[in-house]
């Protein structure tokens, strides 16, 4: 569907986490924020040059693809926490060992492994 491939639609889906230093409850390894807040205005100008996502330069596509991956896993993990009746606040307040246990539970229940944390 061409609509879904419009740059504004695709970037719009993940825009809020582009400038976050911690874009997810999952401890992804990588350089964050993906787009520093101070550079966001120019980033918007750049992506506006292409109607469709496929037409974006590679280095911009990579940023969006990483963000999409983060969002996909983050949404899944949040749904998992909800299923377990654990709020985001409660999760953040748990000790690192417990957090890791919960993370592994989620990974394994989705047949994922710790390797997905490397972006």
């Amino acid at each position: 569907m061409e609509y879904k491939n419009l740059t504004s639609v695709r970037v719009g889906e993940i825009s809020l986490l582009l400038t976050e230093a911690t874009p997810s409850l999952i401890p992804f390894k990588g350089d964050f924020p993906l787009v520093p807040q101070l550079e966001y205005k120019v980033f918007l100008e750049e992506i506006s040059k292409s109607d469709y996502f496929d037409e974006l330069p590679k280095f911009l596509k990579e940023i969006v693809l990483k963000a999409e991956q983060i969002k996909m896993y983050d949404d899944s993990f949040k749904a998992y926490l909800k299923d377990m009746d654990i709020s985001k606040k409660e999760f953040k307040s748990k000790n690192p060992v417990t957090k890791l246990d919960i993370l592994y539970d989620w990974l394994f229940s989705n047949q994922l492994d710790i390797g997905i944390l490397d972006l």
């Binding site: 569907m1 609509y3 719009g12 807040q37 205005k41 100008e45 109607d51 590679k58 749904a79 299923d83």
Partner: protein, 720 residues
């Protein structure tokens, strides 16, 4: 005679004791039910091989207790073993979320799958899920629920020859599986399309949903989903589409509508299968929710209503809006989108419905150049059709969007050419692409001259000045220039690399189509069994592939064919004997493949494609090292990066100082200028619309967006 009439007539005869015509009975669907005077009747297959009505056994249980015999009778399980005849095959663990075991009937040797679930409740609910699937027409294995004081488990027939649907998914299979997409949503079977939960029975080619332990109130691992996750709304219509794009890509709104209609038709039968009051109530609500999706909205009454705007919200009003969203200004929902923005809109009356006018009046309004003409294109989703979104925009709940890179609000494309409704008009074309190229899904409207309109650049300036002061704005402008330079240099370097890549690939015969085919078609699986697919057939396929890469296949003798490729000295010998003995299979649930053909595919990928990729990288590295322009770009980038870091520090210090004087709400908005939060700021200040110039700049056309914050100000052109 329709199926409904046949059902009614045969049932009436059964109740009256009148013998039914066999031809009518044969048209009945096994599992169909009817309830009369508190008793449930079901169509069962009789020993004579003809379906007929039977009254379900009354065993005097409480209303709250589930009569599993009723459900068991839906399945063909008369030949299932007694408990004492079940033998566990300890050598095979079938996996799955809660562990399934392969067992045997001691007397007949027939194999079954035994599932206990994570708890008694879990396995009982899984059985109910399967029963509902059966009623809804989706294939599930034949099974039986065994209940006793010591043990409760499901036994289902083990199918020897199956392939996981996800391994062989194609459009035909997708269509078959998603025929029951709405059923999957209704039953909240979130994992339906994951892993090996749907298998293809190799004997008849049909798809079967085999692992439905994550349906209704339980997750796959046996945890209860909770009422917030499994309630009266079938949110799965959206979530299952999003989480299973590969499976659901072909689903259309019409398909969903049809499936909902079928479910609504048999809602009594569905509810009659459920005896748990709470679950029955939830299911009733879920079916009503689905039904609401196929009911048309009322037409919009013509109404003129302008709400006063232009006044900035007071601090109290701002706090009220903030608290109404629990302090989360990014909170959204499916009904109103950005909830913080919606709270502001409610205060202003900006969520009220717009005026709708006829074509003549609309054209007169366009003629006045102080009015702004806008086109809004809409696309359907699994939740609603495009038409429903249009009607909602004009006459329904005020949905203020949930994505918006230029600012939160409702988006439309500004038509500066007025009257030009063709693809040559960038605004019309933009709206058309948002409407997925369906012209009838575009709403035209006017922003009247008395609306308070502001450019997003101006909003940015206002935000900067209010939050951080003039000096910040100056420094930020310097920073932006350096960042622009960095992007420009990156683009130039990428263009340089792209040109080399295109050249090398062209010179060395990279064939994108063949590459795609090799990766997707999996010849090693398709031609795996040489008994079914003789070597000559595979050879034909490989010849086409090799020739497309300017390679050669030379026949050495009857059984040996040498393959050579233009970019490699290596050759590969395709040998018919090797192919015959190369059938492999990782385990009984994985797809068989031909090892020899797999090796050949690897030979092509490594000796042709990988070789070209390696050459591309070598050439890029080599040419970049000596290219004066590239060196210049890199130096420029490094210099800009250095300046960005230095100016960033100054800018951040100014930002921090500015923050000290703001209340927490404005502080939150100040944390994200230039994006979605612009919409919040503009709405707080009393603006009705923002205009984003230079959005989408393909082929040199500058496109302009209008971002609506006050729906009640708009004047809509009536559409059919």
């Amino acid at each position: 005679m329709s199926n409904t009439l046949i059902k009614s007539k045969t049932f009436a005869n059964f109740i009256s004791g009148i013998p039914n015509d066999v031809s009518l009975l044969k048209s009945l669907t096994v599992g169909d039910t009817k309830v009369m005077n508190g008793a449930t009747y079901i169509v069962k297959m009789t020993p004579s091989g003809v379906p007929d009505w039977r009254k379900l056994k009354a065993d005097g249980t409480d209303d709250d207790e589930v009569d599993y015999e009723k459900l068991n009778n839906l399945f063909d399980n008369t030949d299932f073993p007694d408990v004492s005849d079940i033998k566990v095959n300890t050598s095979v663990n079938l996996g799955g979320s809660t562990g399934a075991q392969l067992v045997e009937n001691k007397k007949t040797g027939e194999k079954f799958v035994l599932k206990k679930g994570a708890s008694v409740g879990h396995v009982q609910e899984e059985f109910l899920t399967n029963s509902l699937y059966k009623l809804l027409g989706a294939r599930v294995p034949e099974m039986k629920l065994y209940t006793s004081s010591t043990s409760t488990f499901i036994l289902s027939k083990f199918m020897e020859n199956t392939t996981p649907a996800n391994h062989v998914l194609d459009d035909v299979l997708r269509e078959e599986i998603t025929e029951h997409f709405v059923a999957d949503c209704l039953l909240a079977n979130w994992d339906a399309y994951k892993n090996d939960n749907i298998l293809i029975n190799d004997d008849d080619g049909f798809a079967i949903r085999v692992d439905n332990g994550g349906g209704l109130r339980y997750s796959a691992q046996g945890r209860t989903k909770g009422s917030t996750n499994f309630g009266g709304n079938v949110d799965e219509l959206v979530s299952m589409m999003l989480n299973n794009k590969n499976m659901t890509s072909g689903i259309t709104q019409d398909m969903i509508k049809e499936q909902i209609q079928e479910i609504v038709k048999i809602q009594d039968d569905i509810l009659n299968l459920i005896e748990d009051f709470d679950l029955k109530d939830i299911m009733r609500q879920r079916i009503q929710f689905l039904e609401s999706k196929i009911v048309s909205p009322q037409a919009a009454p013509s109404k003129k209503k302008f709400v006063a705007s232009g006044k900035e919200l007071t601090e109290k009003q701002l706090e009220d809006c903030f608290h109404a969203v629990g302090g989360d200004i990014e909170k959204k929902d499916n009904k109103n989108g950005w909830l913080f923005l919606h709270e502001i809109a409610k205060l202003r009356g900006a969520d009220d419905i717009p005026e709708v006018v006829g074509v003549k009046k609309f054209n007169n309004l366009i003629a006045d150049k102080s009015n702004i003409l806008v086109h809004r294109g809409l696309t359907g989703t699994s939740n609603s059709t495009a038409r429903q979104y249009m009607d909602e925009f004009v006459a329904g709940e005020c949905f203020l969007g949930n994505v918006g890179i230029y600012g939160a609000g409702i988006y439309g494309a500004v038509n500066k050419e007025r009257g030009n409704y063709t693809k040559s008009n960038p605004a019309w074309e933009t709206a058309l692409s948002y409407a997925n190229y369906e012209e009838e899904h575009i709403v035209d409207f006017i922003i009247p001259k008395n609306a308070k309109v502001i450019d997003t650049e101006k909003i940015d300036e206002m935000m900067q000045e209010e939050f951080f002061g003039k000096e910040f704005a100056k420094k930020k402008s310097e920073l932006d220039e350096e960042v622009r330079n960095m992007y420009e240099m990156k683009n130039k370097i990428e263009d340089f690399e792209k040109a080399i890549e295109t050249q090398v690939k062209s010179d060395m015969g990279w064939n994108e189509k063949t590459y795609d085919v090799l990766l997707r078609s999996r010849p090693e699986a398709v031609y795996a069994d040489t008994d079914k697919h003789p070597f000559s057939k595979a050879l034909n396929y490989f010849e086409v592939v090799t020739k497309s890469l300017n390679g050669k296949i030379t026949k050495l003798d009857e059984h040996n064919f040498e393959v050579s490729l233009p970019n490699s000295r290596n050759t590969f010998i395709l040998n018919s004997h090797a192919a015959d003995i190369a059938l492999k299979q990782k385990n009984e649930f994985s797809v068989p493949y031909n090892f020899h053909y797999q090796q050949f595919k690897k030979f092509i990928l490594n000796n042709h494609y990988k070789g070209i990729e390696k050459k591309v990288n070598e050439r890029i590295t080599e040419e970049k090292a000596n290219n004066a322009d590239i060196l210049k770009y890199k130096d420029s980038m490094i210099e800009s990066d250095r300046k960005v870091k230095s100016i960033s520090k100054e800018v951040n210090d100014l930002k921090t100082n500015g923050n000290k004087t703001m209340n927490k709400i404005m502080s939150a908005i100040a944390s994200r200028p230039n994006g979605e939060y612009r919409g919040f700021y503009a709405a707080i200040k009393g603006y009705d619309v923002m205009i984003q110039e230079k959005a989408h700049r393909n082929s040199g056309d500058d496109k302009t967006f209008a971002i609506i914050l006050n729906r009640s100000k708009l004047i809509i052109k009536k559409y059919e």
